[in-house]
Structures are given as structure tokens and as C-alpha cells.
Symmetry: C2
């Protein structure tokens, strides 16, 4: 019955966040419902109102709740589609769409950085770069051609085995302890050329989406640069955008 444990090393505000998220998920609170007031949470769990506010504020920022001054705090409408407000890998993206992800490695090599790659990765020209090219599958069908480029200085020790047998993201985050904080994604439309058409099993001239992705650490150092070609008949890109917080 104790949903908030004061002796846990997990911060109280975070426990409360998870607890409230849980209540929303099981339908205890529905979109549009008012939550109990902050002071009520504070008293019920014997924690300070400021701590409750920290939890509420986080959930507001994450889009679970919204507040109206003088009225209360309310559950926001459920998020729609896959909420790609959040950076994901191909694997996670496909799973979220209910598809089984797969991958065929075309090559794994180390090359000297071209001018373009050097600029995208924030390294010197001709510095070593891992160049990984994969065909990405969804339910066994080719979905995209993906080229990943990583500074070999930053991701030392990357091998073909890691790429084929485990997760590149996992290696980057858990083994190398690099934390990806944000990415800039560029999306264009194009049409398939002969080579792409063959790999993706579509006709020459069929529409494709070109998606480029540059991932950064918190300090702004680029971690990876990915160029993908998705077949347009099977892939839609969807995001949720927040309007600017305007105080004026």
C-alpha cells in the first residue's frame, strides 16, 4: 500500500511521477480529469508541497498533465501515434509500430573522413571513421538502406560482431558511456534510383524518404551521422511538436 517510500534511494518526486503515470495508464484518471490538488498529495504522503510540484512539473513538461491556475491540474489527452518526440533507434521504431525489425550488414569498414563527414562529425578531414551500411528489414521486408558513420576516435573498439550481434546504441551508451542527448533530423523526399530500387524491391522512380540524423552529446559533440533511404509506401514519419512557451 505504500506507493511512496521515504527510505528508498529513489527521489520522492520521481516515485510520485511514476505512481501518477501508473494511475493514468490503468485508467484511474482519464484525459480531462482533475488530479487531486498538490496540497492533498503533500499531506497524504507526508511530503513537502514543493516536492509534489517538482513531480507535477516534470509530468507537465512530458505532456502527461496540464495546469490551469486557480482551477487545478488535469490529465492531458493521450498522445497520438508513436510519440516520436523522443529519439529512437530503427529497432525501437519498428517495434513501436508492431513490426519485427531485422538487419543485413552490407559492409563494416574504417575509412578516412571525407570533407562532408568531417563536418558532420566535427572531426578533422581524413580522420578515421567507421562506415556501417545495413539493409533494414521490417517483418522480413526491406524497409530502408541505412549508412551510419561514427568517429573511430570516439567509438574505439567497435567491431563487426558488435554491430551484427548486439545493439550499436547499447554499445555506445553502456560500453563507451557516451550519452546521446539530442539529434537533428532532416527529411527529404526523393525517388528511387536503380541501385536503391533493387535493394528495396521497389520500382525505379518510386518515392523514397531521405532521412539524415546527427546525434549529439550534451556538450554538443556529435556522436554519429546516419543517412537512411526509406521506401515511402511503407514508412510514414510522425512527430509531436510543442508550441513555444511564451511568457509575454
Amino acid at each position: 500500500m505504500n506507493d511512496i517510500n521515504k527510505n528508498s534511494p529513489i527521489p520522492l518526486y520521481y516515485q510520485l511521477e511514476e505512481y501518477i503515470k501508473g494511475l493514468i495508464e490503468i485508467g484511474e484518471f482519464n484525459p480531462g480529469d482533475a488530479l487531486p490538488p498538490e496540497r492533498e498529495f503533500a499531506e497524504k504522503y507526508q511530503i513537502s508541497r514543493m516536492t509534489v510540484r517538482q513531480a507535477f512539473t516534470d509530468l507537465v513538461n512530458e505532456g502527461y498533465l496540464y495546469r490551469i491556475q486557480g482551477k487545478g491540474t488535469f490529465v492531458a489527452e493521450r498522445k497520438i501515434e508513436h510519440p516520436l518526440q523522443v529519439l529512437t533507434s530503427f529497432t525501437e521504431d519498428m517495434k513501436a509500430r508492431g513490426l519485427v525489425p531485422g538487419s543485413i550488414l552490407m559492409h563494416f569498414r574504417k575509412i578516412p573522413a571525407t570533407i562532408q563527414l568531417a563536418e558532420q562529425l566535427g572531426i578533422a578531414e581524413n580522420a578515421p571513421v567507421y562506415d556501417i551500411k545495413r539493409i533494414r528489414l521490417a517483418d522480413g521486408v526491406p524497409m530502408a538502406i541505412e549508412s551510419t558513420y561514427l568517429s573511430a576516435e570516439l567509438t574505439k573498439g567497435l567491431t563487426e560482431e558488435i554491430v551484427t550481434e548486439s545493439s550499436l546504441y547499447e554499445y555506445i551508451e553502456e560500453q563507451l558511456k557516451l550519452t546521446i542527448d539530442r539529434a537533428v533530423q532532416t527529411i527529404e523526399s526523393s525517388v528511387a534510383g536503380i541501385a536503391e530500387a533493387e535493394i528495396l524491391h521497389i520500382s525505379v522512380g518510386a518515392p523514397v524518404m531521405l532521412i539524415q540524423n546527427r546525434s549529439f552529446q550534451k556538450d554538443g559533440v556529435p556522436v554519429e551521422f546516419v543517412k537512411s533511404i526509406y521506401r515511402a509506401d511503407r514508412y510514414k514519419f510522425s512527430i509531436e511538436i510543442k508550441r513555444d512557451k511564451t511568457y509575454r
Copy 2:
């Protein structure tokens, strides 16, 4: 010399945010620089450390700063491209790209909602809907065909004059007092048909981007639904995505 005014009705944390943003903009602090510690700000301006933290936390969430426990708070790398983390109108988008926006109204009419429109706008089938179709220009060249749908119940009093002579967004936000909080955007690739090719001055079969946009208020009520067809040779879509805050 008093950058923080305790007697102002503007909250202290907000004044501090603006002040710090200003220091970053004029280059007083550069990306990677450490800011003075929270306690120093608190003492210097005679405000509580919690208030300083509120300002810092907001700036971290907005991407201006990042924190490293035990080390300090640092200025983040400048944001790249047009930071379309933020919802904008066609007009604002083009201006940000250094292009002069223009518009040709093809029709402005009131129609009964189709099933699809009813669903997108969260209204009853056959309820009245404003249907606005425009050719959007950049530097005088056709850039996109845009169809906007609005619930006529919600946006009562909308006229052709408002659409042609002022800004639809301005009318929605300032006259109707509706606040758009977020939008879900879906992007697909396709190729131009005969009608689109003619309007956009491109060849049949040339790549185009289909962009759909549903805008919502804080309570989740949809405000508008926009379907656009952009010519792909002149338009790239770019966004910045944050990685999930993972506490685990």
C-alpha cells in the same frame, strides 16, 4: 545596473532566465563555458537558491544549458538549422529560411465534415467546417498546396478577408483566444500527380512531401487540420529531437 528587480511583477526566475539568455547571446558566455554556481547567483542577487534553480532548470529544458553533477552548469552548443522543435506557420517557416512568403487563395468555403475530417477535428460528421485551400509561395515561386480545415463551431466568424488580409494564426490566438499547445505532424513521400504538377510547376512524377498537421489545445481539443503538398526539390524538413529523460 540592476538586472534583477525584486519589485517587478515579473517573476524573479523569469527575469534571471532572460538575463542569462542575454549574456549567452552577446557572447559573455560561450558554448562549453561554465556558468557561475547557483549559490553565487543567489547571493549576488539576494534571491533564494531554489529560485535560481528554477531559472536554470527552465533553461536546461529549453536547451540553453546543461548540468553535470559535482562539476557545474554549462552553456550548451548553439542550436543548429532552424530549430523546428517549435511549432510555426508557413509564413514564419519561410521567413526563418530567408524566403519571402506569399499566398494565393484558391477557395474559402464552409462544408459539412466528411468522416475523415470529423475524426481529425473531433467533431460530428457533417458539422460545419471551414475549408481553405491556398497555394503557398516562397519568393514568388509555388512551394506548396495547403488545405486547412477548421471546425466552424470553434472558429466562428472567420471570413475570407481575415485569411487573405491578415494571419489565420493571429486570428485564432488573438481574436478567438484559442491557444495552440502542440501539434502532431505526419510526413510522407509521394510523387506529383497531374493537378499538383501543374500548380507547383514541376513534372508529373516528381517527388513531393505530404505533410499533415493536427494542432491541439492544452485540453486535447483539436483546433485545425492541415494537409500540405510541398515540392521536394525546394523543401527539406528539419527537426531537433531530444532523447528521453531516463532515470533508470
